[in-house]
Amino acid sequence: MRKVPKRKVAIVGAFTTPCRARWLSKTIWELAQWAVSGALQDAKLKMDRVEAGVIGLYNDIFARQAIPECSFLGHMGLAFKPLVRVSNGGATGIYAFGTGFDMVASGRHDIVFCVGAEKATDCYDFMSETQTPEVVQTIAWSWDPLFERDQGATAADSYAEVILSYMDQYPNDLKMAVRGEILRIMCEQAKNNPNAQRRDEIVTPERVEHSPWIIEPAFKKLETCVYTEGACCLVFAAEGVAEEICKDSGQPPIWIEGVGFANEPYWWGTRHPHKLPGRIESDYLASKTAYEMAGIGPRDVSVVELHDAFLPQLEITMAEMGFVPLGHADDLIEKKVMAPHGKLLINPSGGLIYGGHFVGGSNMFSAWSARRELIRRGLDYALVHGTGASSSQYGGAVVLKRGVI
């Protein structure tokens, strides 16, 4: 049976800070405050009308503070009101989005903001004199301490395992030439995103081919997402209130038509209830739920903003979400599905690889971009996706629909 929320919810305002490898001149508080302020200005909404907030903060080590959310409330003008922190691995942003949606759809609040912020690259490895090993190490703390962490599990190899096991099953898919072309397109698209981190970069399939393997043959350096510092805020409003806000702001409401989530188990195995090799079932289940709630299918979607932690995972996720068949993810290019070869816009923001990946808010950044494209191009439906945790266990998907003022 199709599940529908108690009442409709729309995005009525959104703002994202520029994405940077490091915001030396800003703390995470400032980034979050900047995003909230920008989103309220976008919605032409006064803070006193906001009833509650959700904040996506990926992990305490990046924030250099345990329970870091406690220090944000006052900065954001939400003193004496509820603020919920969401932390769900790489999928923190999409889960924070879902929590904000629930707070409004349930009838508990009329207007809620949802902010995600990240400062990752204060982490520094004094042995290699670079940030990366310490950032990677911080993410690696997410592996279980008994069985996997001591074996050297890293963020990259968690996705690599998923990709390699997909390649075990479909050895003729995920061809490097296709991956290079998708990267070229996304890199080009990032130039149209004023907040993208890698706007000035030129990536060609040849450059992808020459870049070093991070994990062979799973992915190369130019196929990996970047570490980003930044913040994004979305303002959600209930039907009845949303239209009034949008009339004032002059921007159409973006209705949240479908929301779906699913998490796979931590332990891998040969059958359920374990995570299966070669699949990202969480993406399949999350998108299926979101489509059903929205009453649409992948054919109705014009824009996908997808959590591309690594390029081959983007292809697998597109297959899991029904845009191409599993085992034929290369159809994205070979069968001209992806724009500009085809009609479907995939990661017009540049995605997390070229746009930026500030984990606590990346999926909100994706929603910000999807909203922007729906309005700018006059399109109807967008799909926003988030994934995360070791072995890309967590999946979330949201269907957005452009409304009218």
Binding site: R20, W23, L24, S25, D60, I61, R64, Q65, Y124, D125, F126, M127, S128, E129, T130, P133, E134, V136, Q137, A140, P145, L146, F147, E148, D150, Q151, G152, A153, T154, A156, D157, A160, E161, L164, S165, M167, D168, D200, E201, I202, R207, H210, S211, P212, W213, I214, I215, E216, P217, A218, K221, W267, W268, G269, T270, R271, P273, H274, P277, G278
Partner: protein, 345 residues
């Protein structure tokens, strides 16, 4: 309480990873803000208990056994025994079903999927690199045991382990209750007489040394060497014009001896620059062997030294210093991006 086991001199946080109390004043290039940066810690140390999972680690430590668990109701077998009750089967009283624990598993199994190989290890794991981390199915287990995978044949290259590869569990000589007390090697690398034996320790296998050999000197390589040297000289000469490349080399000091089949030279990394010196470098920190000098010319055009090492075209004498190789690999892109930016201006 039994006696404490120690790896003497091996700290949970490597000493060299801990900075002194420091601060510095930095200018953010984008908006020229003057910022104070300080070194800060955020750490906790533990005597962490393995709790109800302790029997698994004790069986490894004391008996060189791998144990699993089985649900008496649905017969699901799991290894490792990561839980003691079956979440699938609920009793009539809605409680979880207790698993039968202590089930001894076979020590030969197969890999569930192709394992990733980590070359870019961080400080905690550099001494193991390159290492693979896979999942092995033992006996009737439905779940896979996470495990490090090694080859006895030298550098761990892709292709040695694949989905379905038969592997044998090998135990470390010194076992202290960590998941690194055991690892897997391909079964076909295990001597026939040990294949069926349980509790095989690492010392029972013959391990090929990772020591590097000198390059093969040929006339063809000698002929190509001057051109490669010229390319490297031009390449490192571009670093002073590239702020990104200089950042890549910040605080990094190394004397690298590069040996090819056509000749030798040194790369002296210091003060955010690289100085090229001809011939032999006294007491190098790192030796890089690239037999064919043409590969070095390729490096100056964006080819990756990491890829060359992995494909067997290059070798280094200290795998724990891969960071230097990563830094050398970053330079081409940094120089190119700065040149592209200058071009746009």
């Amino acid at each position: 309480m039994e006696k404490v086991m120690k790896r003497v001199g091996d700290y949970v946080i490597p000493h060299e990873a801990i900075p002194e109390v420091m601060s510095r004043i930095s200018v953010y290039p984008e908006d020229k803000s003057v910022c104070v940066e300080r070194t800060e810690p955020m750490f906790t140390t533990y005597w962490a208990s393995a709790g109800e999972l302790s029997p698994f680690f004790l069986a490894v430590m004391k008996e060189k056994k791998i144990i699993g668990a089985r649900c008496p109701k649905c017969q699901m077998v799991i290894c490792p025994p990561y839980m003691t009750r079956c979440p699938v089967c609920q009793n009539d009283d809605y409680s979880l079903v207790n698993l039968e624990t202590g089930l001894e598993m076979p020590q030969v199994g197969y890999l569930l999927g192709t394992p990733p190989i980590t070359v870019f290890a961080n400080a905690r794991f550099a001494r193991y690199a390159p290492f693979g981390r896979g999942r092995v199915i033992l006996g009737d287990s439905q779940s896979a045991l996470p495990i490090q995978v090694f080859t006895t044949t030298g550098f761990l290259k892709p292709g040695i382990f694949k989905a379905g590869t038969k592997v044998k569990i090998i135990f470390r000589k010194s076992r202290m209750g960590f998941s690194t007390d055991y690892f897997a090697v391909p079964l076909d690398e295990v001597p026939e007489k040990l294949k069926d034996k349980k509790g095989v320790e690492e010392t029972a296998l013959k391990w090929k040394s990772l020591e590097i050999s000198g390059p093969q000197v040929t006339d063809a390589f000698k002929k190509h060497f001057p051109k490669a040297l010229q390319a490297v000289s031009k390449f490192v000469g571009a670093i002073p014009k590239s702020p990104r490349a200089q950042r890549d080399l910040t605080n990094w000091t190394r004397k690298v001896q590069v040996s090819t089949g056509g000749g030798k030279f040194g790369l002296i990394l210091d003060k955010q620059r690289i100085r090229l010196v001809k011939g032999k470098v006294p007491r190098p920190d790192l030796i890089l062997v690239v037999e064919d000098p043409a590969h070095l010319a390729g490096w100056t055009n964006g080819d990756s030294l990491v890829n060359m090492i992995r494909m067997g075209f290059a070798e280094i004498n200290n795998l724990q210093d891969m960071e230097t190789i990563f830094k050398l690999d970053r330079l081409h892109r940094s120089i190119r991006r700065d040149a592209e930016e200058r071009g746009r201006k």
